[in-house]
Assembly symmetry: C2
């Protein structure tokens, strides 16, 4: 490769979406702003990456607000954060060369300059690179670690997961089935529930949108879990958590990886924490990046599951950077079906 | 011993306190009723025990009400449950003989007939048999298992325990100190806090009665835990739990053995369960009777600690069966100082 060629091909302008203001309650399109910025010249050791796929995930909602979190809030005017699959378009870093496909954390923008820290090359033979943002990336690892390492499930037990068609929930329930558990999903609407049972192979699915209120939801959940609940993978909170806790068996485990129901306003209380004692529950919050020791085994098993067709996986792909805010708001409202991505090129 | 003598000494009448009705909110003396009942003649294999000490414990409040629990509620008209130290006064059971001192579960009554199941002989040389109901019994084991096996403390960390002068809390903090932690108690009133620091050797104590409200309490707690909180031994719930959770460090552990604050009425919510995720906490409910594998080691260590004077332990002893309801209501209001007992003979 001629260095002069790479320089000639290097674009000069980046388009990016920044946080325009902090949401008051549910986010709206005006909380985001699309802007252009020059791309700085590469210094020695740096490379320029062009975003191919941007991952949209519920945790991004938390970063838009201030308040206690395991990660700092995105500042006003800063680029929205996000995992990406990118292609190296110019490199002065000896470890990466033009054309490399990489897993990066470039956020909501078309280009990023990086010194290579935290960037991992993807296998160029990978049939679907976008999977590195889903079942073979952070969401898949989250499902694996939470279900198996935090949840410690035993064959014959019952597992419940909310957002069951999502990038994480769909994998959680399928892992549970592979391990010999009864898997019960919670999802919004008949179409999603049909998919959870018919395609993903869960044993049952509770359509929370069909419940008139918390009591009706609890009755439906109880009907779907006749032997009680042993493992709960928590990514929603609120009414669903409260109902699940009432139905948990003694020594049940709750792996908590998200509480999206409480992101938009006042913190959502847990109504009956005394159930933790009464049912001798173990509740554990976790972030998958803090459990790297489990990744190699998890990626090997998830990869084998996908390759053998045992692990079904679905994506919803929006087109172009401009579509990111709308796709993200849809994700928060449960409009996506499977992993939500934006394809930029 | 002449069998005839034992028969002659056998009393005919038992006095006992039964649950008269279920409390509405805070229990009152009229929820209990003292009654007399005949003592049945012993069948082969049975023995008659006379209660020496009755243990009063917060969990008894839960048994007075219906609702989800790990144990069945006491029925109306049934004898109130409770751990006891008793003396065998007549025996047709070959394993026990008149004069034996035993650990039993006779409840709030002067006599009980038993076939010996679940009854354990105490060492007759034991200097203070009442300790079998406290530091060397269920409360001590609860403190040990919760602090060490559930809490997994590390030297240099900070542990907080509420009801810090109680039978459990006082042992929790002292174990924490022995293991090299900073121990911080929560107690009601200056006299108790002085005892927690001056006698029990905790590093600090927060007087919750001196706090005007939840925010003031949180400020006091924060002042007493400048490096945050790593371990919390939960036996109260409500305002104290909410404040502690805000102050927990990442990867903190909460051992939950009681939630006395919620016993009297509506369930007390946990205000910010999202903190479990944000701080990656682990919360585990436990009942010491389900962890018998830890008892031998625990009793050996606790016994050594008491014998060497390293483990301070205080009792409040009411006199006579009739005093039990009043002493129990005082316990629920925090009037006791150390382990609450009733001495019957």
């Amino acid at each position: 490769m001629l260095a002069g060629l790479a320089v000639a091909a290097t674009p000069k302008k980046n388009r990016r979406i920044v946080l325009a203001k902090r949401p008051e309650g549910e986010p709206t399109p005006t909380d985001f702003r699309l802007e252009e910025a020059p791309i700085p010249a590469l210094k020695d050791g740096e490379m320029l990456m062009q975003t191919v796929f941007l991952s949209l995930d519920p945790y991004m909602r938390a970063r838009m607000s201030e308040g206690p979190s395991y990660a700092a809030a995105t500042e006003i005017g800063e680029v929205m954060v996000g995992g990406t699959v990118s292609r190296v378009v110019a490199s002065k870093n000896p470890k990466f060369k033009e054309g490399d496909l990489v897993s990066s954390y470039s956020g909501w923008q078309e280009y990023q300059v990086s010194n290579g820290m935290g960037i991992f090359k993807l296998d160029p033979r990978m049939p679907r690179p976008s999977y590195a943002l889903g079942v073979l990336g952070m969401p898949g690892l989250t499902a694996y670690v939470g279900t198996l390492d935090i949840g410690e499930p035993k064959p014959g037990e019952t597992l419940v997961v909310a957002a069951a068609t999502g990038a994480v929930g769909s994998v959680v329930g399928q892992i549970a089935k592979i391990k010999g558990l009864r898997a019960v999903g919670v999802a919004g609407g008949k179409e999603k529930c049909d998919y959870v049972i018919g395609e993903l192979g869960f044993d049952a699915c509770v359509d929370y949108k069909a419940a008139a209120g918390p009591e009706a939801f609890f009755a439906m959940l109880r009907g779907a879990t006749p032997s009680g609940i042993d493992c709960y993978f928590e990514n929603v909170g609120g009414m669903i958590l409260d109902a699940v806790m009432l139905q948990m068996n003694a020594f049940g485990r709750i792996a908590m990886c998200g509480m999206i129901a409480g992101y938009d306003g006042q913190p959502l209380p847990m109504q009956r924490p005394a159930l933790i004692l009464l049912s001798r529950l173990r509740i554990q919050g976790f972030i998958v990046s803090e459990h790297p020791q489990h990744w190699p085994k998890a990626l090997a098993e998830l990869g084998a599951g996908v390759a053998m067709g045992k692990l079904k996986y679905r994506e919803t792909i929006a087109s172009g950077l401009d579509s990111a805010p709308g796709a993200f708001l849809g994700l928060l409202q449960g409009k996506n079906f499977g992993k939500q991505l934006v394809k930029l090129i």
